[in-house]
């Protein structure tokens, strides 16, 4: 009866809001497209979009024109009566939803910099100008622009397996990135009157259509980046003759756009694995800065199986490259930067690109593209397939601070790393920022530590997220929040998920098991479109560990970790040996405080009645209460005779028992990592799984048994769990100097 009562309580708690409730309600029901193991199902499909484009960059007017032919393949079982495209540039149209959806107050523009930015933004005539939309035969077709998206109306449904080819002619004004911001745009160099273009999200791009969202239908408001179907690109980019162009894919016409000498250097770079080789030298770039040629040249790039295309163009570019060897195909790691990037960029960029590929490959798969490019664009970090735009500029005199250096290296690792998440493992950034930023920030941390011992990584280690997680919950959202509704973007979508994964790896699953499961996820969803459920399920399925409580706590709530030691009690077995026990009794009695009356009476009552008259003392009143009597010895002997050998052995060892009471004050359930320090200065770490909290999420007690005597107990001594309050992590309590105390001490 009693047992039944207990189990009913547990069940009723579990149907409400137990932290160990399984995620059945949160995750979509597995189906033929995505199975319960977290892998693509037997009928998984994805669409394909191939592009042939002719692009012209006008360096006089800072405009860009494109003629684009898209061939869209419907691999879904559904007939499609319309197609949707992304027009991300339309976020820069005056009064775009992206601009209107942002709040502002007069204080926002109370400094001149913000004011100027706002005026520039309002004045700038950005956004796509769609000149013509036609079918393959050149006949105009119906289309509608809806904010940052565009719908193509099909005369006839596009059925499964069908292809539809159409053309769009467009142009737009390129934004000055330094004045009004943007992931792409140009930077103007006043000194030599040249432009450096980083061009991306620049052509009408097919939206994703899949089994989860149907047509991706979230307008671009600015935070949720994008996702696109994979496809092949054939792109010809016409620029001033003296420009150097870096782009997604492989250059097709090097003989036409590079000098003989540059072609020779390119060949040399393809065999160099240690030191990057200059394809375009600083001297050549400085020369080109002056020439300002008006004739044009066309660079031809092709890229296969990519989800986007981006490029950079400038006459200021210095270009270096070297080879990265892999088990499969080799890759060219390359960098393009103006002279303003030296001496940081020539020294580090390409080498950091190479290191990123090496580190990420270990945790995922061989980098599947032929090139990985880092372009220097000031004040930014933004990723596209095979190419990314990164900040980190030295001072004008060539000096740079340590911060600039680490900032530059971190941003390169991060943006090159994005090739894996989300360019290849193609999650939907407009829905879930953490799926690419979080996973990528986690691998960025691992890569940084391989680049340099104790690299000052900003995110990854558990203790670095503490300040964020213990903050006011009204200003924090769970990780599982749509990209456009996240508060504290960096901590929420980058820092916290990266930390959660690092904790899974170091503490919950262990490195080997985690790495196996993570690699499985990466390989399952390589060149596919995963969802959060696919990630959660794969990590559990491949590791063999139910992590629902972990996903629930870390990804679906804003709880923080704060576990404390509330009490420690020490017990020993009663030996029944009067010699041991009476001595112990004497010792503990001596430690006990005497009450005030006793103390005063000792003085004041000169003699009691029985002290006067010893006749009153029977056998129970003895001079020394701790004296071992023959009677007690006999009793002990009788006790011993009644014991089994096993019991005698246990008595002889003299075990110490410690009951430790833990309290979960933060709410997030986590394993309890408790380290015992013994009087002989040895230590022992014991890990209690998170499930210790499953019946009572606030309090847990546990008895530990040692032969040795414990002198101190420490909770999470290696800062593994992101515990927000450390003062209660030690028994006996220890004062931990704060950062403030340390700084003040150093000053004095």
């Amino acid at each position: 009866m009693l047992l039944m009562g207990v189990s009913i309580t547990a069940i009723s708690q579990n149907t409400n809001n137990s932290k160990f409730k399984q995620l059945k309600d949160e995750l979509a029901t597995p189906n033929v497209y995505r199975n319960a193991a977290g892998a693509p199902g037997p009928e998984y499909y994805q669409q394909k979009a191939d592009y042939i484009m002719k692009i012209t960059l006008d360096d006089e007017k800072q405009t860009i024109h494109g003629e684009e032919t898209i061939t869209y393949t419907n691999n879904s079982p559904d007939p499609l009566s319309y197609l949707w495209l992304q027009l991300d540039q339309n976020i820069r149209k005056p009064n775009s939803e992206g601009q209107l959806a942002n709040t502002s107050t007069i204080e926002d523009i109370s400094n001149s910099w913000e004011m100027k930015r706002m005026l520039n933004r309002a004045e700038f005539e950005g956004g796509f100008n769609i000149e013509k939309v036609t079918d393959a035969a050149g006949n105009a077709i119906d289309y509608a622009v809806v904010g940052t998206m565009m719908r193509i109306d099909l005369k006839k449904d596009l059925l499964k397996g069908g292809k539809y080819t159409f053309k769009i002619n467009w142009w737009y004004n390129i934004n000055n990135r330094m004045e009004i911001g943007g992931r792409s745009g140009y930077e103007y160099f006043e000194e030599d009157e040249n432009y450096l273009y980083t061009i991306a999200q620049f052509f009408p791009r097919m939206c994703v259509y899949n089994d989860v969202e149907g047509w991706q239908n979230k307008q671009f408001l600015g935070s949720g980046e994008f996702t696109l179907p994979f496809g092949d690109y054939d792109v010809q980019i016409t620029v001033p003759e003296d420009h150097i162009v870096a782009g997604t894919g492989v250059l097709q016409n090097a003989t036409k756009v590079l000098t003989k000498e540059q072609q020779e250097r390119w060949k040399k770079a393809q065999n160099e694995t240690e030191t990057p080789i200059f394809i375009v030298t600083a001297e050549e770039a400085k020369e080109a800065e002056k020439t300002k040629k008006t004739a044009s040249k066309t660079w031809h790039y092709k890229a296969e199986n990519v989800r986007d295309f981006a490029f950079a163009s400038s006459r200021k570019f210095i270009w270096d490259a070297m080879k990265v060897e892999q088990e499969s195909e080799d890759v060219m790691a390359m960098s393009y930067y103006p002279k303003e990037g030296m001496p940081l960029w020539d020294r580090y960029s390409t080498r950091v690109v190479a290191q990123t590929l090496k580190s990420y490959t270990k945790f995922t798969f061989d980098y599947p593209y032929p090139v990985a490019i880092s372009v220097h664009a000031n004040s930014i970090g933004m990723e596209y397939p095979m190419i990314c735009f990164n900040g980190g500029r030295p001072n004008a005199d060539g000096t740079y601070s340590e911060r600039t250096k680490y900032g530059m290296m971190s941003v390169i690792i991060h943006e090159v790393g994005h090739n894996y998440f989300p360019m290849i493992i193609n999650s939907d950034e407009r829905q879930w920022t953490w799926m690419d930023e979080g996973l990528n920030t986690f691998l960025q941390y691992l890569c940084e530590q391989e680049w340099q011992r104790n690299y000052p990584s900003r995110r990854g280690p558990a203790h670095l997220i503490v300040d964020y997680m213990k903050g006011d919950k009204n200003f924090i959202t769970p990780i599982m929040t749509n990209s456009e509704s996240i508060r504290q973007f960096g901590n929420n979508a980058y820092g916290k998920p990266a930390t959660a994964l690092n904790i899974l790896r170091e503490t919950i699953l262990g490195r080997d098991n985690f790495d196996y499961a993570f690699k499985e996820y990466a390989n399952r969803w390589k060149f596919k479109h995963p969802t959060p459920a696919d990630f959660f399920r794969t990590m559990e399925d491949a590791s063999g560990v139910d992590l629902d409580w972990f996903w629930r706590g870390w990804f679906y709530t804003t709880d923080h970790v704060d576990i404390g030691i509330e009490n420690v009690q020490w017990f020993q077995i009663n030996t029944h040996n009067p010699e041991v026990e009476l001595a112990f009794q004497k010792e503990t009695d001596a430690m006990r405080n005497k009450n005030i009356s006793t103390i005063r009476n000792e003085e004041e009552i000169k003699q009691t009645e029985n002290e006067k008259n010893p006749f009153l003392n029977d056998k129970y009143i003895v001079a020394d209460p701790y004296q071992v009597t023959d009677e007690a010895k006999q009793e002990y002997q009788n006790f011993l005779d009644g014991l089994s050998n096993e019991q005698k052995e246990m008595l002889k060892v003299g075990y110490n028992f410690y009951q430790v009471d833990f309290e979960n004050k933060g709410g997030l359930v986590m394993p309890i990592l408790v380290e015992f320090h013994f009087t002989d200065d040895t230590k022992e770490m014991i890990k209690l799984p998170a499930e210790i909290w499953r019946y009572n999420e606030q309090k847990a007690s546990k008895v530990f048994m040692f032969e040795k005597e414990v002198k101190a107990v420490a909770l999470d001594p290696y800062l593994e769990t992101a515990d927000c309050e450390l003062y209660d992590n030690n028994w006996p309590r220890k004062t931990i100097p704060s950062r403030f105390d340390l700084f003040k001490q150093n000053q004095e």
């Binding site: 709040t103 502002s104 107050t105 204080e107 926002d108 109370s110 400094n111 001149s112 910099w113 913000e114 004011m115 100027k116 330094m178 911001g181 935070s223 000031n378 004040s379 930014i380 970090g381 900040g391 980190g392 500029r393 001072n395 004008a396 601070s401 340590e402 911060r403 680490y406 900032g407 941003v411 000052p456 990584s457 900003r458 300040d467 964020y468 213990k470 903050g471 006011d472 009204n474 200003f475 508060r487 504290q488 973007f489 960096g490 901590n491 927000c724 309050e725 003062y727 209660d728 704060s738 950062r739 403030f740 105390d741 700084f743 003040k744 000053q747």
Partner: protein, 165 residues
Amino acid sequence: MKKILTLFVLFVAFNGFSHKYYVAIANMEYNEKDQQIDVFLKATAHDFQHLMEMTFKERMDLDTVSQNKKYSSFIESYLKENFIVTSLDQPASFEYIGMEVTERLNIFFYFSFKEVLNPKKIKIASKFLFDFFKDQQNIVHYKYGEQTKSVTLVPALSVAEIKFD
């Protein structure tokens, strides 16, 4: 009377990385021994660099600003004006201790509040960086004894009270 707003043309480009979040975290702790509140305030270094460059209209090297009297006295008064603790409607007196820039791209400021009338009930008003970043959030943790309470200040609500029983 009409007020005229003059705009100057910037001759400094915004150096550093643009990022999508602006958070500063103040860790405050009541120091029983000295009867004062000790604070260390952490912010992203280049956000603060931006503030300095916009104020002085010149390129700034954060690693050396504390050696420059003009800059360091500006920093001190900026903090004093933009991070205010009051108790029983009485502002506590601000004492600046120093700053440091770390490799993790953070900047830390250290200061104390003396003459806090009732350290168990204080009001914190922080407009730190609000003039420069409209998305700026200032998280404040205040530890009194063994308890910690947190508030987050945003431009729309830049004052909050923390009370301990």
